[in-house]
């Protein structure tokens, strides 16, 4: 696959229409995996990758410039740190509430509720960081080809 083929892919009508149709479903599935990870297989890591794959598919079909219009560089860059900070921030919050680092029992009155809240926030942090990392890495690679 070279640059010419990448440009060629953008002109394919079927690819454009089909990907436009399925990208919302991929995003929805990513959100499902993110929030349903407590009950079934999945979690922040898988959800982040699925969410990023929808964005990467968009970038493959419609081009990196178009993707950067939808998701500017500052969004993915700050998302990278926001996810990690959210994760570590939950740990610091539990420290301030008088428990060990990342012991979620302190986050709510009931320890089990605290665990639920802590896991939800931590998984969200993982998801944001993984998604932004995948998009950043892909665009760093693909963006170089557009000279």
């Amino acid at each position: 696959m070279n640059l010419g083929e990448l440009r060629f892919m953008r002109r394919k009508v079927i690819l454009r229409v089909v990907s436009k149709f399925i990208i919302p479903f991929i995003l929805l599935f990513g959100l499902y995996v993110q929030w349903h990870g407590d009950f079934g297989p999945g979690g922040g890591f898988q959800a982040g990758v699925i969410f990023a794959s929808a964005i990467i598919l968009y970038a493959l079909i419609f081009g990196v410039e178009q993707t950067r219009k939808a998701i500017p560089a500052w969004v993915t860059r700050s998302g990278l740190s926001v996810g990690v900070l959210l994760y570590a921030g939950v740990g610091v919050a539990t420290l301030l509430l008088g428990e060990n680092f990342l012991n979620y029992n302190a986050l709510a009155n009931d320890p089990v509720n605290g665990q639920h809240l802590g896991i939800l926030l931590v998984e969200l942090g993982v998801g944001i960081t993984v998604c932004c990392a995948m998009v950043t890495i892909f665009i760093a690679f693909a963006g170089r080809g557009h000279r």
């Binding site: 990870g37 297989p41 979690g43 560089a73 994760y87 896991i119 993982v126 950043t136």
Partner: protein
């Protein structure tokens, strides 16, 4: 039985990867290899691992390899036969050593194996009361082993930062005219 069928498919894929010189096909075959691995994980009831393998191994890493191909060459360079022989020998010896290493491991699903007698009973028995999530894997990953997952998140963060630092912007090279149109990453 189904595991051996899948392993056979994986071996066939590997032979294809070794023999084919067209790197686009090789990348597609590595994606297939990961998908077959994910299927084996499903058969072994490790659905969370299978999910990750399918999403990362078959999905994103294939796309990243394609991105690399777009920057480099599509054809594999042929190596000399002497190097092929020595490389094959090293791969063979490594494989034999790895198989020798697995001989000491407990057999699959053995209830007496150390991994099932250390912390696993505690996780399975106590996590409904302590964490209360139906998916014990998530409980272990995010709560009992929260430190490890935090470390993994930092690894991914560092990987992305490294990519940005190495090929992301290239501020020093921006003075060259051909880099003027470089997409902002």
């Amino acid at each position: 039985m189904i595991v051996f069928t899948l392993l056979g498919f994986m071996c066939a894929t590997v032979v294809g990867i070794i023999r084919i010189r067209d790197l686009f096909s090789v990348v597609m075959l590595t994606g297939m290899f990961s998908l077959l691995g994910a299927a084996i994980y499903v058969v072994m009831d490790a659905v969370d691992v299978a999910f990750t393998e399918a999403a990362v191994g078959a999905g994103v890493s294939t796309v990243l390899m394609l991105g690399t191909l777009a920057l480099t060459s599509r054809e594999e360079k042929t190596t000399g036969s002497s190097r092929a022989v020595s490389g094959g020998l090293i791969a063979l010896v490594t494989g034999v050593i790895l198989i020798y290493g697995t001989l000491d491991m407990p057999s699959y699903g053995d209830p007496q194996s150390p991994i099932h007698n250390h912390v696993v009973p505690r996780y399975i028995n106590q996590s409904p009361n302590e964490v209360g999530l139906p998916n014990v894997v998530t409980s272990v990953l995010a709560s009992y082993r929260g430190y490890d997952t935090l470390g993994e998140t930092f690894v991914i963060f560092t990987a992305a930062i490294g990519v940005i630092a190495i090929i992301g912007r290239g501020r020093r090279r921006r003075k060259k005219p051909e880099d003027q149109t470089e997409a902002d990453t």
